[in-house]
Amino acid sequence: MYLNHLIKLPTTSKMILLGIESSCDETAAALLANGRNVLASVINSQIDVHARYGGVVPELASRQHVRNILPVVRETLDQAGITLDQVDGIVVTQGPGLVGCLLVGFSFAKAVSLVRRIPMLGVDHLAGHLLSVFLGDDPPEFPFVAMVASGGHTSLFKVTSHTQFQLVGRTRDDAAGEAFDKVAKLLGLGYPGGPVISRLASDGDCEKIQFPRARLGPGSLDFSFSGLKTAVANHIHKTTEHGESLNIPDVCASFQEAVVDVICEKSLEAARMNQCDQIVLAGGVAANPRLRLRLKEQGTQQGISVHPAPLSYCTDNAAMIAYAGANNFLARAAIAPESDVYSRSPILTWS
């Protein structure tokens, strides 16, 4: 029994879509009009949970998503001044992520879809990230190369349309955002590591310590950040062992520069190898000011335009999920009620 046999799908682009995201830490909802105007975008960490935990990372559990989902969706509808009756479609993250977490958003969307007879479809979380740039003022044209770097992912794609993505590079061990988190942990700077390292790095010398840049052979578009993390651990260990004091801003700046160098190099190489003159930078790490600046500078030198995702849509959010689904809705795709979430992304395997 397919939903699109039961319900009439919207026929024009004048539709209002409700996006729902619960693949990892954040419970998020958003409303998108005309396939591109964000009416409201709410992330759980911005409302009650934020206040309760004083801005510290919210407790991670599917239980937390269960608790959050209804207030987050309600808040989204309220902020936009929209009722469920006005919603033409629901787009929900289907994977990849933790099955227990994904199921909360997915089952919620299914239930609303069935009860209110609103068509729904599932999209890939990564598709959301690499299309998030279209929610800003500086969208690229197809084709482009997209660098998605976050706590859980570091992947390069060639993007030829709203629905066609080809994986061209990926991390072989740690994700870039994870490297930031772990180095922050080693330095006792707390979680998450990205913002605090970036802040401290601005007072440090990025050439002070030579941390390794893993290039993985000529022509490789893969990443490896595990060795860099270990090099930072070794540096800290040696410095303290010799009784010297650790210059934390220098460590932060030198570490950040190593990550930025590799991401810039590989993104530009991916653009050249795939005959693209545009690069999109997305995911939580794309919020790093040094990375945005350096990639733009280097891109300009090489005649490649760089389009970073808007800052508000770099970290996990549901506006990008709704956007990623908008084009599929127009293509009359809809999800079967018996469909399920997935933990591994099909767009993250070599084609």
Binding site: E59, L60, L98, G100, G152, D173, K185, S343, R344, T349
Partner: protein, 163 residues
Amino acid sequence: MKESAAIIIDLPTLEQTARLGRYLGETARAGEIILLTGPLGAGKTTLAQHIGIGTGVPENCLITSPTFSLLHEYPGRLPLYHMDLYRLSGEEELEELGFTEYMYGNGLTIIEWPDRLGSMLPKEKIEVELHFTGDSSRRATISFHGTRFDQIKQGLDKITTTE
């Protein structure tokens, strides 16, 4: 419960780590649990990658760090569940995420930062603790808890003595 003395293996190069990992993966049976401990950067995920090669994870499936996503599943001769409990606060969360169901299922479960398991720590398990002995050299302390590992242990002795 049969307890035995820990086996200490020096891993001067990545190749030794790879060899140990592959062996543990090749000999793994359904329902087996390997706990990996040691500080950040000690090579827990690296060892897990080689255990995965041993269980037959296809080459196009890269085994990457599960720190952010908590759990990665891989196909192979037997399913591989790779967990990193680093970001979890305790037993209750694990229970709610359904992680215990994986642990006693049909595959091999590798658990990084297993201290978060508390009272849910399995009784039958292989424990591998990795220590830094230099920039790229490590030492593994391996202990076997339970009766089902005698054969694996003997094979491990052979691996280390033929070095």
